[in-house]
Amino acid sequence: MSNKPKFAMYWAASCGGCEIAVLNIHEKILDVDANFDVVFWPVAMDAKYHDVEAMEDGSILLTLFNGGMRNDENEAIARLLRRKSKILVAFGSCATEGCIPGLANLSPVEELFDIAYHTVSTNNPHNIHPQTSFEVPEGTLTLPTMNPIVKTLAQVVDVDYYMPGCPPESHQIAAVIDLVIQVLQGKAQLPPKGSYIGAGNSTVCDECKRDRNVKTITAFKRIQEVAPVDPKLCILEQGVPCNGPATRSGCNARCPTVGAQCIGCYGPAEGVIDYGARLITAFASVVDAREPAEIEAILDGIPDPTGQFYRFNLADSLLRASTKAWKKNGH
């Protein structure tokens, strides 16, 4: 067995996009192979949990962990990998802030199941409803138990670094891999624990090339209602709620550059406690009205504020879940 440092990657509650993003670094992946001994990576290779159990604690140098904590299996593996890894990276939006799966925190678990298995649009002739344990002649089959709410990796285990993005930009991944390799070769220093890697400290506007003026907005519109979108002018100034001002930089303002509003997948900027709150004040600040009625009328242009402001960050926000979700789940 080689003495190359060991590398692991795991997906908890996630879509697999992060893995694709990693593969998107093209030939750089070879450097990974050259410098690391990939010991565990369910998507890419076959490995069993007990193999990992068997490893010596802290024997894995680098683990990129993507996906949020949706069920007890996710948590178990998170704890396991935490034990086995020296450097545990919350990789991608799901692991850092809950991401889209986190939006489930607005509804109780039962409701989620009902939507998934028992809505008119669901084809479920035998009316199957998943059970956590199920008796068959061969014995008992078990399924992981859903957590009442989705948690971020850091809410369950101690995390060394965070790498935001849904998914993280491939050039950023490549850069991080380079960095780690350089550290291995003693050419570079690791950033302080807990810092965000593969991203900037400012916000998307910092990288956005669009022209900006003093902002006063009289109506919020959906992007499709603005036609044509001015290719030069700040998207928010065109009335489209663009999350760029509050979203961490690092993506080279991908969406705004191609004329779509930023939806905030890189999460809050450095030091921000609640991402949504930043957007609330930001958008409210540019509303150009004084009379409550007028203001309300303008705000009607944002039909789903909670979704707009917490699309990616809900699980990591101060409130984390709706009363509906946690009251039902006996908190």
């Binding site: 034990r83 609330i280 004040t281 909670t306 409130l319």
Partner: protein
């Protein structure tokens, strides 16, 4: 303490009107419900929605925000900005299932100690009606798995 539910309310006041209104209420010995604990800001415009969320997440049953009357702001017009934020914040919190009645914006001038006291009383009653919010403190965060420790079941 009485049997009935005593809501805990965090209040944010501006330094110039509403905090002085509280002073005025005190000087005039106006009695009002003790459920509100005030935090002084320079202006209601300083109110960051994060404060409100932190208060609610931290166990407050309601949040009161108060500033100078529109048009009387010591900083000329900043209370209008507070108003806008307040309205958008309330909409957002609705999505979290927080009843809009739990957050209240009150205008009170430095002279309106009586009014402030009265508003506080009525707000306390409103929140009392709604019952406790006691947002969970997510105990599960507390026992985080430290690296190289703790066995998983």
């Amino acid at each position: 303490m009485s049997e009935q539910f005593e809501p805990v309310i965090v209040g944010f006041t501006c330094n110039w009107c509403s905090y002085r209104a509280a002073d005025a209420a005190g000087t005039a010995r106006v009695k009002y419900a003790p459920n509100v604990r005030l935090i002084r800001l320079m202006c209601s415009g300083r109110l960051d929605p994060t404060f409100v969320m932190k208060a609610l997440a931290g166990g407050a049953d309601g949040v009161m925000i108060s500033g100078c009357h529109p048009g009387d702001c010591h900083y000329i017009e900043q209370n209008y900005k507070a108003l806008r934020r307040f309205l958008l914040l309330r909409r957002t919190l609705k999505g979290f299932g927080v009843e809009p009645e739990r957050i209240k914006l009150i205008w009170a001038s430095a002279a309106e100690g009586m009014r402030l006291a009265h508003e506080i009383d009525s707000f306390v009653e409103e929140v009392r009606k709604l019952g406790p919010l006691n947002w969970p403190t997510w105990k599960d965060d507390q026992h985080k798995a430290e690296p190289v420790m703790e066995v998983t079941a």
